[in-house]
């Protein structure tokens, strides 16, 4: 312990996140933690484990499943959930499509990214979840940089960025009417580098796709995509083998890999610290569609 009673940045961020999670567990009736198997939700789940230790995590986790998954991530998800003894809710985009709630996109850039919003909002309503933890960080994207830690959603699941509740000190207004809910972001103040430093310090296991491996890929718009059955690949997009790793994990059809030889957490940290491109800019097609792509999706109820 430091003699000046000053916490290190990771300890301060951890204390803040745990305070947020306990506040949700104390004030909401049916919270849920959104878990994608990506590094941010992995950190969030590890924080939840600590926040309530030695008791079990007092809420279920939910995966919004596009059906276009990296098998390594699903394997990881199932193993982690079993270890913690938490209940897993899988909300399936395929089910939403089959039920006529969402329509599959077509063409070369077809993706189920946007359809996830329908599945997510339906699942929140169906399970009567009144608070949903998300792993979004404010440093990811400039619309996210504007969002409160406790972010109010109306009965349509919409975010109104021009009329957010004032949020002073660490006093969070958790009051809602039936049908409304709150999205809660315990990692709001973490950066990509903080997340990696925490993974290193806590020795958290990650799905192997976060580290360098050989993969059959093709190039599109300057990004490398895994050759996979869910994507419509043109003849001008030949497949080749490359050594890559993933910087973010989302739907297979929109998540690009980066050429990298970083095989350990330390090597990834060195790479992240030196990079000049943001993680979403480098690896997410969903954010490239327009200037306000994230804001528009968030307004509709996206993560």
């Amino acid at each position: 312990m430091r003699p000046d009673y000053q916490l290190s940045q990771l300890d301060a961020l951890e204390a803040e996140a745990i305070h947020i999670m306990r506040e949700v567990a104390a004030e909401f009736e049916r919270p849920v933690l959104l878990f994608s198997g990506g590094k941010d939700s992995i950190v969030m789940l590890a924080l939840a484990e600590k926040a309530f230790w030695p008791a079990r995590i007092p809420f279920p986790v939910m995966h919004v499943d596009t059906g276009h998954n990296f098998p390594e991530v699903i394997e990881y998800r199932d193993r982690r959930v079993a270890e913690l003894g938490v209940r897993l809710v899988v909300a399936s985009v395929q089910d939403s499509i089959d039920a006529g709630r969402a329509v599959e996109e077509t063409g070369r850039h077809a993706s189920r990214n946007r359809l996830q919003t329908v599945t997510l909002l339906d699942a929140l309503e169906e399970n009567r979840f009144d608070a949903a933890f998300g792993g979004a960080r404010r440093d990811e994207e400039r619309a996210r940089a504007k969002e409160r830690v406790f972010s109010f959603r109306d009965e349509f699941g919409q975010w109104d960025p021009k009329n957010q509740r004032p949020e002073l000190w660490s006093l969070y207004n958790t009051r809602i009417h039936r049908g409304e809910h709150i999205r809660v972001f315990p990692l709001s103040n973490w950066t990509e580098l903080d997340v990696w430093a925490y993974i290193e310090r806590e020795e958290l296991a990650l799905p192997p796709i976060y580290f360098a491996h050989e993969r059959a890929v093709f190039e599109r718009d300057g990004m490398l995509y895994a050759d996979n059955p869910f994507v419509v690949r043109g003849e001008d997009e030949p497949v080749f083998t490359a050594t890559v790793r993933y910087r973010t994990v989302g739907d297979l059809t929109i998540t690009g890999a980066v050429a990298s030889t970083a095989a350990t957490v330390q090597q990834v940290i060195a790479e992240v610290a030196a990079t000049r491109i943001t993680e979403r800019g480098q690896t997410r097609a969903d954010d490239r569609s327009s200037e306000a792509a994230m804001e528009d999706r968030k307004r509709e109820g996206y993560f």
């Binding site: 506040e23 230790w53 949020e167 660490s170 103040n189 943001t278 480098q282």
Partner: protein, 420 residues
Amino acid sequence: MDILRFATAGSVDDGKSTLIGRLLYDSKSIFADQLEAVERTSRDRGEEGTNLALLTDGLRAEREQGITIDVAYRYFATPRRKFIIADTPGHIQYTRNMVTGASTADLAIVLVDARNGLTEQSRRHAFLTTLLRVPHMVLAVNKMDLVDYDREVFERICAEFSAFAARLDIGDLTFVPISALHGDNVVERSANMPWYDGPSLLHHLEHVHIASDRNLIDVRFPVQYVIRPHASSDPELHDYRGYAGQVAGGVLKPGDEVLHLPSGFTTRIRRIDSAGGEVAEAFEPMSVTLLLDDDVDISRGDMICRPNNRPAVAQDIEAMVCWMSSTVTLGPRSRLIVKHTSRTVKAMVSELHYRIDVNTLHRDESATKLGLNEIGRIRLRLTQPIFCDPYSRNRTTGGLILIDEATNATVGAATITDPR
């Protein structure tokens, strides 16, 4: 490495977002793709040079109108510190969002346009900053390039602000002449102002001493959550009963005698668990779990302190309030919900003593209500007591938010001046 949280404040067009863009740019914290996007947009709009404000104005409406509506949080680090910036709106209509950003700040930068000097909005923000007791303030006189880097202009504004500040309670005040647009005195000392011998803004942010801003004397532990594993199979866990919360003041150690409120019962701390396991001591802002020697009935909303150093147990409080609702006003007999630490109670305004004119600091005692963004002193009657301190003594146990019963909106924030 520690964290410094700072907020920027000031009028519209005083250059807050540009300053942040400059800090990020010069500290090499802007990524190539972000910069490209901003350069492209600036070019498309026919703007001269790159508009760094576009980096933080993250909402469509903000970019369209060229103003900041809500706080944007940005992050950067130097080898000395990690920084969390709250870029707050200057527009008076969005004062509540400025207050959101300033409430957690260790330091506030109030920007003033060198050509215009102090405005009502810069006074308002300086006043709110002191009301929220942000421990350190920097008055940054911006756009020095537009007044030929004139020393007299800078000194005149400093003198004017000092006269205003003399009536406020500002702990630590620093003046820096800058040009956010050109980078003078932002990261590096400027060759254009050889008459200024103070540090650059970033140097000040890196070195300002914040370790002693916290209250390490008065032990305050609001109980947030009770941890009971309910694991009948494991005898050790079966009896586990932990009181979880975030330390709001003082230093707690195993063996310390503590007092529980509201019961007044005393016991000792048996063990302190933190996220990483058992710890030897706990202090602000650690999130920990206390295990106590005796089985006391303790629940969320209760307070743990020391027997000879207790917060007030108050059902009537005097407070300064900043009203944030555009649809309802605050006046005598207004009914509200109060959230204070981990306790939520109902309240009624028993008296509105005065409204403050932020420009002159004049107290208008004839005021009968407070509207959006107005500040005044009130007396609140609570349905149940809260365990609180004057805000000047503790920013956690002295602050509360006011919630509208019907809409659930957060309609006000208050700082306790006098708990009775």
